[in-house]
């Protein structure tokens, strides 16, 4: 008798717990539908404004600093690329596909971006070694996870080394002017061999190492500061000044962007400063002050 009650009780429990309703989804749509939607979002963003400034950072530790690439996503498959470091304009293809999120890939060769992915074996010549290791080169990426996309900006993360990079949309009719300005800035930065950094009453020295990129000897947009602990910063030259790879804290001052201040007698090359002038980066043409 007892076992019978027990059996009925077990059955009753099974009945009530077994048919638990399917768990409510956190999101209304299925994961596949959301992934497809995010791919479409990425496409509509890229093809919306079409012309972009891409702050491209090769290197596993962004040790070369940034290069400005200027993609123009002319159709849903075609892209034209220009850059501040190169004189060519090249067309190739791109695609956004589903991976661990929407992935933007430049899937046929375009020297403007794939130069950074070439193994050092290919970038050298008879007189000089290629840049980076012979098997991995500069470790530039051409496949990116799209972290976010809107009509004005796209945030990308390199798939192999995880560098986070931004693309900013610009008006198509201004692109030529913008590129010219960026190239001027790039040429200017190529002459800088060192920086004095004035921050919080101290003066630090930033001396970038040189690298031969695309046939041009060029100071990397990166240097190490003798703070405690030491800090390596990477940046990119823009038409208005400098943008750092991320926000750095130097001697207690947070910096992510500097604006160029024109030359004076005290600063013959001009200097770069943050908005409240608490951080100054003064360029010079020699490695030593």
């Amino acid at each position: 008798m007892k076992t019978q009650y027990l059996f009925i009780t077990v059955l009753a429990i099974l009945l009530f717990t077994g048919c638990d309703k399917k768990k409510d989804r956190i999101f209304e749509d299925s994961p596949a539908a959301r992934l497809n939607a995010s791919i479409n979002d990425a496409y509509s963003a890229l093809n919306g404004k079409k012309t972009w400034i891409f702050s491209f950072y090769p290197g596993a530790n962004v040790e070369y600093g940034g290069f400005n690439l200027f993609p123009n996503f002319t159709t849903s498959v075609d892209v034209t690329l220009q850059a501040d470091y190169a004189t060519t304009t090249q067309s190739s293809t791109f695609k956004v596909y589903a991976g661990s999120g929407p992935i933007l890939t430049f899937d046929t060769y375009n020297s403007v971006i794939h130069y950074f992915s070439l193994p050092g074996y290919y970038t050298g010549n008879s007189t000089s070694l290629g840049i980076g290791a012979s098997d991995s080169g500069m470790k530039g990426e051409f496949e990116f996870l799209v972290l976010s996309s809107s009509q004005d900006s796209v945030v990308l993360k390199g798939r192999k080394y995880g560098n986070v990079m931004k693309m900013r949309a610009v008006a198509s009719d201004q692109l030529a002017t913008i590129i010219a300005n960026y190239k001027t800035a790039n040429t200017k930065f190529n002459t800088y061999r060192g920086f004095a950094i004035e921050v919080n009453g101290k003066t630090l020295q930033g001396v970038p190492t040189l690298a031969t990129v695309n046939g041009t000897s060029r100071p990397n947009r990166s240097f190490t500061l003798a703070t405690t602990p030491s800090l390596t910063v990477s940046y990119i030259a823009t038409d208005t000044g400098i943008e750092f790879y991320k926000e750095y804290t130097v001697e207690g001052i947070k910096v992510n962007k500097l604006t160029f201040v024109a030359a004076t007698t005290q600063y013959p090359l001009g200097y770069y400063a943050n908005s409240n002038n608490t951080f100054k980066m003064i360029p010079r043409l020699t490695t030593t002050p």
């Binding site: 059955l11 099974l14 046929t108």
Partner: protein, 297 residues
């Protein structure tokens, strides 16, 4: 009492079984077919490879189809067009001519070809020319250097056609095994993974009865190398190659013995006369300098 108990049990059990209704599956697949517009090369591949041969060419970089061990870059569009046209005319068509139809290549040729812009560079600075996976896929590398070298048959043989015929022979062997008597010709002479340090020159390998250093790895590689060298080189080039510096008549004699096995195998199992195939390839190669590599219909 017993009846009441059984009745309750029955009700509960039937409730348990009926209450858990299955959820309806969505009719839509989670995999969305690509709607990207096709370009001239896409159409060319579809019409000249996929439809007649059931072969797909992945010329746009797809990372999971490439070798993630290496730092690779995509192939150029121009290089892809050249390779696609060259491969069709100098790689596939000769077999069609010899066998009389496309059925042979459709049945046996690897189903996927991938194009990569650079070679795989190892950390010691050496490079890999081409690889194949399980008889289903052949990876062709270094397409970005093709434009400047595409009228040199020795370059094309070294980087592409040699690899293609070699890998293709493996697939034929997997379909119809070659006679085991072949394995005994060099017997214990195969050296395995130390092939590249055992024989550093072609001549040294030939003297030992292997057509190339790589052929000394194992009998299956030996078989594929013999076949590949024979059909890609003209009769005079082949003879000259066998007489490379360091080779010996005894070594050449061993190679000739093996080659007879390869020829007999191809003739009996697949009806392919290797001399006829070689002649057909050479006739086509004679027109390489004027072959249109870049125009797509």
């Amino acid at each position: 009492m017993k009846i009441k108990y059984n009745l309750i049990c029955l009700v509960f059990i039937s409730l348990i079984y009926t209450s858990c209704k299955k959820e309806k599956l969505s009719e839509e697949s989670v995999f969305v077919d690509s709607t990207l517009p096709k370009n001239a090369l896409d159409s060319y591949i579809y019409n000249n490879y996929t439809v007649p041969y059931n072969i797909d060419i992945i010329y746009k970089y797809v990372d999971r189809e490439s070798d993630l061990t290496y730092n690779l870059v995509p192939a150029t569009y121009d290089g892809s067009v050249r390779m696609t046209k060259l491969l069709l005319n100098f790689g596939l068509k000769p077999y069609d001519d010899i066998t009389g139809s496309k059925a042979f290549m459709r049945a046996y040729f690897p189903k996927i070809l991938t194009y990569i812009g650079t070679s795989s560079v190892k950390s010691n600075g050496t490079i890999v020319l081409g690889t194949a996976e399980g008889g289903k896929k052949i990876n062709l590398y270094n397409l970005n250097n093709l434009a400047g070298n595409s009228t040199s048959i020795s370059y094309l043989n070294k980087y592409y056609f040699h690899v293609i015929h070699h890998e293709f022979q493996h697939i034929l062997n997997q379909t119809k095994p070659f006679p085991t008597s072949f394995n005994t010709i060099s017997g214990v002479g195969y050296v395995g993974d130390v092939w590249n340090t055992t024989y550093v020159t072609d001549g040294a390998a030939i003297a030992a009865g292997f057509i190339s250093p790589y052929a000394s790895k194992e009998s299956t590689e030996d078989f594929a190398e013999l076949y590949s060298f024979y059909v890609t080189l003209s009769a005079s080039e082949y003879t000259a190659y066998l007489n490379s510096a360091g080779s010996t008549p005894a070594g050449i004699a061993i190679i000739n013995t093996k080659m007879e096995v390869v020829k007999t195998y191809m003739k009996n199992e697949f009806g392919i006369d290797m001399d006829a195939l070689r002649a057909n390839i050479q006739a086509k190669v004679a027109g390489l300098s004027t072959f249109d590599q870049t125009t797509l219909p």
